[in-house]
Amino acid sequence: MSFPLLTATAALPAIGAVVTAAVPAAQRTAAKWLALLVSLATLALAIVVLVRFDPDGDRYQLTESHSWIADFGVRYELGVDGIGVALLALTALLIPFIILAGWHDADPLETGSKRWRPTQGFFALILAVEAMVIISFEATDVFLFYIFFEAMLIPMYFLIGGFGDRAHEHGEEAASTQRSYAAVKFLLYNLVGGLIMLAAVIGLYVVAGNFSLQEIAEARANGSLDMATNTERWLFLGFFFAFAVKAPLWPLHTWLPNAMGEATAPVAVLITAVVDKVGTFAMLRFCLQLFPEASKWATPAILVLALISIIYGALLAVGQRDIKRLVAYASISHFGFIIMGIFAMTSQGQSGATLYMVNHGISTAALMLVAGFLISRRGSRLIADYGGVQKVAPVLAGTFLIGGLATLSLPGLAPFVSEFLVLVGTFSNYPVVGIIATFGIVLAALYTLVLYQRTMTGPVKAEVSAMPDLRVRELVVVAPLIVLLIFLGVYPKPVTDIVNPAVKSTLSDVQKKDPQPEVEAAK
């Protein structure tokens, strides 16, 4: 038996989480270093996975399969395709930055504060989320996926509800109330989505008799498993609902601004750049493969919802007064693009969507983490409290600008490539949808540049005049992300090479062909 590489990528952070949590309270710093080392080791393992993965090989690679709960027809089955590998690598890449960026977020407050912040818990929870997210990217058993899809809500919930920004305009009491409101809203939305999916998971078992993604998809393809049209549609809706809450898609998005607004910036990145990707990933992997007919049936409605997400998210982002909520609404707009790319049912669209997930992860991480550094300096999330920061802290302002420009998909930065692919892919099948979606880009330019202008330019406000520039730790967080954004913007081929074959097989499951002679994805 070969070394269970995929299990190791999930087990390592899981064990790390337990050990980190067990570190005694006095050894706070040791716990942080431990968490960082574990996340780096996980990254190393993820790189090994990336190297061992052969884009032109089998569809699912590095597979593992063990019996688990035979009574439920559940197997412990792991395997990655190109899409899974890309997102696995993204997750493993972002976690060390998240940990480093949140280095002081869970330090105990000065004496006299009633707030309770166990440092070890913060880092242990981040690692726990990482383990669960990674295993959901790897699971090829629907039940196994479901278990971790649901279970990751619990550590996320404590991360949102238990740790907030140090300062809050309405004082600690109000902050605590708002935080727990946001955490509960997050949990209830996702739990309801998950429970509805549970009904569909059970239904799938009744229809198919097992949970193996490959077996079911194969049986669907060769016609040995026939689903009644209505059954398939209901099951599809059950799955899609859960993923649409997680992604989030309008009108199920309202938990995201609360959660991202109240959580600390690194946790907000964890939500939007890592956890939410499971939703869009699962649409590609489970909705399309298990229910191809229903996916085609639902495509028009989903495209409309995605369009609404794009425009609505961008419009609300323009109107935000709070930096973090602005990024949250921008993310909703971007998730609209991703979902549109997935359901455009073209290879460019889906490759673009996958690439978009990766790029959005990196660009949002860059923007949000810098925003977090900014907020921690001034102690306010309100845009109006800033002004002229670029004169005081030029490096901070510069990195913030690059993060912002990536968010608006400036050519030369990574998100441009994916957004372009998504739009091209959509346009070839649904021209009208593609045209309307383009307005989202215009609005993106508006909200990003207005944000930069109001916070960074203009006269220096008194409160920010003594603001220190980025520290070494913060630079270490931001610089690699920016380098990646530029690199993938100029040369996205490494990612597209991995992703493209997987997208082709997904499309062939849905039995959709690209409308015109195959266009090679931008190389």
């Binding site: 009574d71 009633k114 309770w116 809500l153 949990l187 429970l195 549970l198 009904a199 059970i202 239904g203």
Partner: protein, 549 residues
């Protein structure tokens, strides 16, 4: 001349009186119950003859040994094949020894053992006049607040009678799911109900509330028993027998020889339907299904918390066992009649329990309503009428009982000056004062909510899967919706514990003796093991899923 010779002068020998057959009792197969009953009787003698100071130790030891020995007997019987190949009827047709019976008996015995640990806890309440005290009244007969009560407390009396009462209740519960005729069923029902009524009245603190709870439980329970008994009479009129298999044969129409005395009523479907409904009603009362649930919140709240935990777990196991046997063995021929009704009951139970629980402000009442919702989930499995339905219900019951006892054991730890602090507002910020206790309770709540990787999820998945396969997809949808509603109030408690500011005058968490720690530890361990690796126990439940007829 010999005596016989003289005798024979004026007598002649008649034929010997035909012997009355001695009943054939399979003592080995009945040993679990016999051990517990025997220990309970010895416990009563201990009360009479052992000096007061030593009673507690003797009773705890006796009860623990008896329950453990009975459990060992169950395991031995199962290992011997009585759950599968050798399954049969014992005690002249009164008791079935089969898979479901043994599985449920094992569950009840373990729940009883863990419950016993919480009964025996004596470190939580502050010492009264230098005597360690448990959760039970010093002297049940003394009027609350009276001088005689004060005297009893001062003298250091404790109600060690609870231990034999517990054993009697366990004994009744052991017979209940194994009863193979309606009279045995009724006797078992009374044998476990009466000790429970009594134990509910024995709280040391808030005695009036406890007594009120007991009276409510007793009155409503008596009604339910009367209904059951009436139903039994009607079914006897219908079938001419109280034996399960005989009734089942009449239901199926395979019996032709009609007893002359019953010729008028036998086979009268009205008797069958009304009688069957009344018996089922009695059982639904015991499991706390809507609309027979009214007693649950008051009794759960008023009873001493260890009793609540034991009762919530073990009664449910026993009553669902009896319900399963009744519906699957006696009335399967009638399932087209009872399934629609049970559908309705399951739906209102799931939704009713979950919705009303949202408004609760007392942790014990909250858990009571949550237990109602869980009864609804289990009913969904019962309705499946498939082998999977049986095994999923068995698994759910086993998983649920340990979570319940553990959760109530945690409730006993959170105390203020007035005893247990059960009002939810007092639990605010508990996670900051006692992270471990709050985390353990959170694990139990997550299991109740059915979050993956806990036993609650495995159990819920099993019953929903059985229901879906049994053609009850709408029930699954309702179940999922009420799970979502239920999740709300479990989460609310977690929010309260972890994200709210602790109150300055808030409760403290008492440090328990190893007894309660064991109870809680077992609860957590079972919750996690059944959540992560349920396969072994599912196999066990599967093998145990066949009733003997």
């Amino acid at each position: 001349m010999s005596a016989t010779a003289v005798h024979s002068l004026w007598t002649t020998a008649a034929d010997p009186i035909s012997k009355i057959d001695a009943p054939k009792i399979e003592y080995g197969q009945l040993s679990p119950t016999l051990i517990v009953v025997g220990a309970a009787i010895i416990g009563v003698l201990v009360e009479a003859f052992v000096p007061r100071k030593q009673r507690y130790y003797v009773q705890v030891f006796l009860s623990a040994v008896a329950l453990a020995a009975a459990f060992a007997a169950v395991v031995a019987l199962a290992a011997d094949g009585y759950a599968t190949t050798k399954a049969g009827i014992a005690a002249m047709g009164a008791i079935a020894v089969d898979g479901p019976a043994l599985f449920l008996q094992g569950t009840i015995l373990l729940a009883g053992l863990v419950g016993l640990f919480t009964f025996a806890e004596r470190r939580l309440d502050p010492e009264a006049h230098g005597n360690r005290v448990d959760s039970f009244a010093a002297q049940a007969a003394s009027v609350p607040g009276s001088d005689s009560e004060k005297a009893a407390v001062k003298a250091g009396f404790t109600t060690t009678e609870v231990f034999p009462l517990l054993l009697f209740a366990v004994a009744g519960m052991l017979i209940f799911p194994a009863a193979n005729d309606l009279l045995t069923l009724f006797v078992a029902l009374e044998v476990f109900s009466l000790p429970l009524y009594l134990m509910c009245a024995l709280a040391r603190r808030k005695r009036l509330m406890s007594q009120e709870a007991a009276v409510k439980y007793f009155l409503l329970g008596a009604f339910a028993s009367a209904f059951t008994l009436f139903g039994i009479a009607l079914l006897y009129g219908y079938a001419g027998s109280v034996s399960y298999s005989a009734i089942a044969q009449v239901v199926d129409g395979t019996v032709t020889n009609v007893a002359p005395a019953l010729a008028d009523t036998m086979g009268n479907d009205a008797l069958l339907l009304v009688g069957g409904a009344m018996i089922v009603m009695g059982l639904l009362f015991k499991v706390g299904a809507v609309p027979f649930h009214m007693w649950t919140p008051d009794v759960y709240q008023g009873a001493p918390t260890p009793v609540t935990g034991f009762m919530a777990a073990a009664t449910k196991v026993a009553a669902f066992g009896a319900l399963l046997r009744l519906l699957y063995v006696v009335l399967p021929g009638l399932r087209w009649d009872w399934r629609p009704v049970m559908w309705g009951v399951a739906i209102v139970t799931m939704l009713g329990g979950a919705i009303v629980a949202i408004t609760q402000t007392d942790i014990k009442r909250l858990l009571a309503y949550s237990s109602i919702a869980h009864a609804g989930f289990i009913l969904a499995g019962v309705i499946a009428t498939t082998p999977d339905g049986v095994s999923s219900v068995l698994f759910y019951l086993a998983a649920y009982s340990f979570v319940t006892i553990g959760a109530f054991a945690v409730v006993t730890l959170v105390r203020d000056a007035g005893g247990e602090a059960t009002h939810l507002s007092k639990w605010a910020g508990l996670g900051r004062r006692s992270p471990l206790v709050a985390a353990v309770f959170a694990v139990f709540l997550l299991a109740f909510a059915g979050i993956p990787l806990t036993s609650g999820f495995a159990g819920k998945f099993a019953v929903f899967k059985a229901a879906a396969e049994g053609g009850a997809a709408p029930l699954v949808v309702v179940g999922v919706i009420s799970s979502a509603i239920a999740a709300f109030f479990y989460i609310r408690v977690i929010v309260l514990m972890f994200f709210s500011e602790p109150r300055p005058e808030g409760p403290t968490v008492a440090v328990p003796s190893p007894l309660t720690m064991t109870a809680i530890g077992v609860g957590v361990a079972v919750t996690l093991v059944l959540g992560v690796a349920p396969q072994y126990f599912l196999d066990l439940a599967n093998q145990a899923g066949v009733f003997v007829r």
